[in-house]
């Protein structure tokens, strides 16, 4: 459809000649986003995440494995999808006896779609960052922790390092330098479990994505 | 919002009565003039005034709107405020004359007039800083703030500022008070079914307050809401704010 492309762009270029309204905004660089201290950031993150029905555990010291263990036990999970190739994933595998059967997303999705859909109870992924202002985890899927891990299993457990909680999405983008370092195929911002208010504007959870979102701060 | 352009109390103002008040609610116009005069402001009422042109402007008949608006422009040569007892008509002159007269030879005059326009309640509050003493019996009034006052001119609060000075007046708000009453000028003619549905709902909300009077700064709304209540034999006299203020404060 190169003809379409050309005529659309031609029309738009012609339109540009006319004196179009341009709003100049002096607020462009105003600090619209709140700036919080490290502890406040964590508090805000926890409050906001809980407000969107996320279970948040603030793991003291090195207790995150215990907390993860508790989360699995409380739900009687029979298996857990987690990568052995991440630092914390390796630690989970090292303590495999404490956990339900560990599964690795080692093949492409085509090779195990039915199992992924039918036989995975929960998945654990790391987070690339967190956002205090909105209560959001930033997911940065890669070969070890592919996109579907945070989407298909009914329970999604996220391990987030407290030091990676930013004030705002803007700040996360700037500090992590998303534009220059380049993003993966898909970046996902998650704020709570899947939900819908499509019937009578009444909120219900777990519509298509995970029914539960659990964040463990490490 | 304080949108006064004059720095001190003017000695004289032009008064623009509006066609609706001229024909249907002259007492509102008289009351407004009396209030102004009591504040020591002399009032000039150009007898050649007719209509601001809004009905045609809102209907897309810009040539006709322009002709009518142009006939009004000439009536206000002195550099004094122009007070209008209707937010809708004041909105037309203040907010829409600049667009209507864009690129016309008399654009400058139109801008000049637009800059001098005041809606009555805003003028009483912001410019005259009027003080009222309530001489009336206790009464409850339900307030309908017109959309033009609320959203176009941002002077919706002036009506309350004035009413709060009247100690024997209890102010009531209808449910969903910010919702339009469904008048909309020619809208009521072009889309009568929707207009009727909106008017019925507004009238029901107004009636549900059990107030003794309905008050607004726009007679279009009063005619619409009042018309519904009359048809249903509901007795709740509608009053333009000027009329109520004058009624209750005159000696």
């Amino acid at each position: 459809m190169n003809d379409a492309r050309k005529s659309i762009l031609d029309r738009l270029r012609l339109a540009q000649c006319s004196d179009s309204a341009f709003v100049k905004c002096d607020d462009q660089n105003d600090p619209v986003d709140p700036v919080l201290g490290p502890d406040e950031r964590i508090d805000s993150f926890i409050d906001r995440m809980r407000a969107v029905r996320t279970e948040v555990h603030d793991a003291p010291h090195d207790s995150w494995l215990d907390i993860l263990h508790g989360v699995c036990q409380a739900r009687s999970l029979s298996n857990l999808l987690v990568s052995p190739h991440t630092r914390r994933g390796a630690m989970i595998y090292a303590a495999a006896r404490r956990f339900p059967a560990l599964k690795d997303y080692s093949q492409t999705i085509e090779d195990w779609k039915p199992e992924l859909f039918a036989a995975v109870d929960a998945a654990v992924t790391s987070a690339y960052g967190g956002i205090a202002e909105t209560g959001t985890v930033i997911l940065w899927p890669d070969a070890h922790e592919p996109r579907a891990m945070s989407l298909v299993p009914p329970i999604h457990i996220v391990l987030l390092e407290k030091s990676r909680i930013y004030n705002s999405l803007t700040e996360a983008m700037q500090i992590q330098n998303w534009t220059l370092t380049g993003m993966p195929s898909n970046v996902i911002l998650v704020s709570g479990p899947s939900k819908s208010a499509d019937i009578e504007q009444t909120m219900t959870y777990g519509v298509h994505g995970p029914k539960e979102l659990i964040v463990i701060l490490v | 919002m304080n949108n006064r352009v004059v720095s001190e109390k003017p000695q004289a103002v032009y008064f623009y009565g509006t066609c609706l008040i001229d024909l249907f609610y002259p007492q509102a116009g008289i009351s407004a003039i009396e209030l102004l005069r009591r504040e020591g402001v002399s009032v000039i009422y150009p007898q050649s005034q007719t209509c601001c042109g809004q009905p045609a402007w809102n209907s897309g008949y810009r040539d006709e709107a322009l002709a009518v608006a142009r006939a009004q422009l000439a009536l206000f040569p002195q550099p004094i405020p122009l007070v209008i007892p209707s937010a809708s008509c004041a909105g037309m002159m203040k907010m829409h004359y600049p667009a209507l007269f864009r690129d016309q030879s008399d654009e400058a005059t139109a801008l000049n007039v637009a800059g001098r326009v005041y809606e009555l309640t805003a003028f009483l509050v912001d410019v005259l800083d009027i003080r009222l003493i309530d001489l009336g019996d206790p009464i409850s009034v339900v307030v309908h703030t017109s959309c033009s006052a609320r959203r176009e001119l941002g002077v919706g609060d002036k009506l309350h500022t004035l009413l709060r000075q009247l100690h024997n007046v209890a102010i009531l708000e209808p449910e969903n008070s910010a919702e339009c009453c469904g008048f909309g000028g020619t809208f009521a003619v072009k889309q009568p079914e929707i207009s009727a549905a909106m008017a019925l709902e507004k009238a029901a909300a107004v009636r549900a307050t059990d107030a003794q009077r309905l008050v607004s700064q726009d007679c279009g709304c009063l005619m619409n809401i009042g018309g519904v209540m009359e048809k249903q034999d509901q007795v709740m006299p509608g009053r333009h704010i000027a009329e109520l203020l004058w009624e209750r404060t005159k000696n």
């Binding site: 039915p114 504007q201 298509h208 | 007719t50 009536l75 549905a197």
Partner: protein
Amino acid sequence: MSTEFRSNVAHALKRDAVQTHLKTVVDRLRAHRQGALGNDAAFERLRNRCEAIRADAIRRLPDLLQQFESKAQRNGIQVHWAETTLQANQIVLDIMQRHRATFLVKGKSMVSEEMGVNTFLQSHGIGCLETDLGEFIVQLAGEKPAHIIVPAIHKNRREVAHLIHRHFPGLPYSEDIETLAQSVRHFMRDKFRSAPVGLTGVNFMVAETGTLCLVENEGNGRMCSTLPPVHIAVTGIEKVIARLEDLPPLLNLLTRSATGQPVTAYVNMINSPRRPGDKDGPDEVHLILLDNGRSRIAGDPELLETLHCIRCGACINHCPVYRQIGGHAYGTVIPGPIGAILEPQKQGLDAAAGELPQASTLCGACAEVCPVRIPIPAIINRLRWESVRKNRQSQNSRPVVPGAGSGRKSLEALIWKIWAWCCTHPRMYNRMTKLATRLRNRLPADMGAWTAVRKAPKPAQSTLHERLRKMDIDHE
């Protein structure tokens, strides 16, 4: 007098139960937004910023589209351009046929509604399954969305329960919203797993990075864009923004304006198809850029603000007319105030949608809540003028709105002429108003539509002009 719109309205207003339900939900949406505004000054600053972002993007539309295209292509996204909805549908069909795909799963997309892609593909033997809960309900009912954010806004839980029960008789009847949603989840899972193609809309395209950004709560959009081997995204050319840093303020404003949420469950940023080493994600990502009149709208300095819209639906939720008649009465893909200005510009003032600029009292509620401050009442006013204007040729060689002048009726025009003549001849005006006051008791009580629910207004005993002549004031 009875137009398509008028008869739609009459039908809508007769359905008391639907109307009552609609008002309840609309009022709920308004309350949600009100609760989410927070600090006024900060919210206004955010609006300023977003207004500027959108204005800048539309001003630089061709440059940004080209920048976006080259970035997206470099990332491996296949970019297609379509001037018309037919072309866009044809592109979808070609992709489907190339993959021998017989059905697709769809995420919520108003542009796909604009294309009518479901009907088009069905006529070629290809099935489209709506996966958004609200859209699925509407599809089951054989209807169109009644709202751009809440497609099934007009249905209460009982109607939804009956629908689900009729289509899935195996399931026990339930009016519980959670149970209903879980039934749909269960049904959809198989479809997501097996679908060869997923189709979604796009909320923002980022020119700087070539990113497609999708905002949603349910996760079906992620499913449609992650699991099938082919993802087709469709969007209007106006959805582009310049920089990645423009995205956070827009997301913030969009979700709060739409449903009063501070944030949606998911923001899905798609940069490329599956890359070497990735274990999932579609092998192909296609983006179809639809014009369908938008580039013409961009040519008019006043009308182009229509393109600033970020489709939050706030104007719809706050429109007193929408609140009475609902979305279907508009007869267009996009209802409410934004639909009333957008659809006539796209379809022409001589089409059925040409009447929509009349569906407004000009109360200004839409402009008051529009996050990017589109002057909707001013554009309505402009379109009313375009509709009845005499000279169909544009001034300054600007493109005219299609169908300009088609609404001009000679009787109405004559009435306005006479009115203008009276109002420019004060003596005649005074004679007429005086006459009306003298005949006040003999005027007809039946004034057509006005007196259907109201008493006819009665002129006063004498006009203000007359009364003031007797007072000692200056008349100049």
